[in-house]
Amino acid sequence: MSNAAPLSVTFSLTGRVITCGADEFVLDAALAAGMKIPFTCREGLCGTCKCKLVSGEVDMKHQGGIRPKEIAAGKFLPCCSRPLSDLVIEK
């Protein structure tokens, strides 16, 4: 997986486009690119970094910081999610 080509992550509100490794957490890639996304626990617990995923798929390994209802409504936690495709995030 680590050799897989990086995927693109588009932030729909700011227009920023960054790349994110397939084995990289989306939050880490965004922070490395200098973006300011609020976060706290970085382990899928607190929900501080919760964002709307407009399109694309992620592999999220959260620890209860997001409810099934929120996931069904298109939300995700970038701190504990790796991209499975190119993503568009409402941010």
Partner: protein
Amino acid sequence: MMGDIRALPARRRVGYTLEAAFYTDPEILKLDLDVIFGRHWIFVGVEPEVAEPGDCLTVDIGPHAIVVTRDDDMALNAFHNVCRHRGARLIEERHSNVGRVVCPYHQWTYGLDGALLFAGHMPKGFDKSCHGLKPVHVRSLAGLIFVCLADEPPADFAAMEQAMTPYLAPHDIAHCKVAHTEDIIEPGNWKLTMENNRECYHCSGAHPELTKSIFAEGFGFKPVGAAAEASAARFHALVDTLHGEWENIGVASREIDHLADCVTGYRTERLPLEDAGESETLDTRVACRKLLGRLSEKRLGALSFWTQPNSWHHFMSDHIVTFAVFPLTAETALLRTTWLVHQDAVEGVDYDKDNLIAVWHATNAQDSALVGKAGDGVRTTGYQPGPYSPDTEGLVEKFCVWYIDRLKAALA
């Protein structure tokens, strides 16, 4: 000053309204919030308000801020709504749904069971297990949620639960939905609101909408004069007949009264209604065509359920109305009224909301004005405790007896 206040319960004159200080003095309010609201089972809401995992219900009672949560195992929990870090209020909204309880200040993160799961930047060796949310006792009585802030809550809640479950269960509160909520700031001490609720002496003069459906005789009203006695006799014959019919179909109905002889005081009785006899509506017919639970009989009158110190409830075949009273200041209180219908009932199809709430919306406003009149009077120099009618105000007297006894027990 406290010395004076501590003497007041002991000198209460039986059968009379309380001394003015009980309705006006901020020091008595503090005592009420400590002894009455801090050490007894307090009705705070209904299970449909916390129906799903992650649902939170906040309640503020004077200096007590409480959050009731539904966890992922569907258990109800309750906590003080305050962070163990810097003391920030955790949840602001009355109703919310969360994954975790996250403090908005520094994001300390708690599970719905109150355990502290995450606290950033704390030193090695910091013991999260010592910093969980402070628990509050919580119990659901067939869907009515009660909390108790005491370390050791009154044990007789279990007896009330056992006795009341057959009365409440047929209405299946847990599978209702909230159709409407109304908050009123009552212009008087919380006890004036409770006392007003405990008699129907004032009903014929004050409540044209409510008295279309209810019989005043069901609320401790005893008649005087031949015509009134004949009317009361017909009412009591009707009660006997209907109690038999209702209990035959598994709907518990007969009076239980522990308003003044239990720490967790309560009273219940299923009372007939006038005319069609179905519901507390302007036309005495059901307001919602989808009946509650598995009920198939519309004409079940109205089950009244009163609890000390702060609630009363009316359960009909088609809807439920619950009332909770919380002190705000010495001379104001919050009256929160909640109307419930079957969870599958559709507004505009199965029920018309205006029709559903018409009677109690009007009655609350009338009662609030009466509480204001009493509040205006008890703070004046001309006020002195007046006598309750033994015929029609026996349940008010029981409220006062319970209240004074609870203060005496705490002050002893």
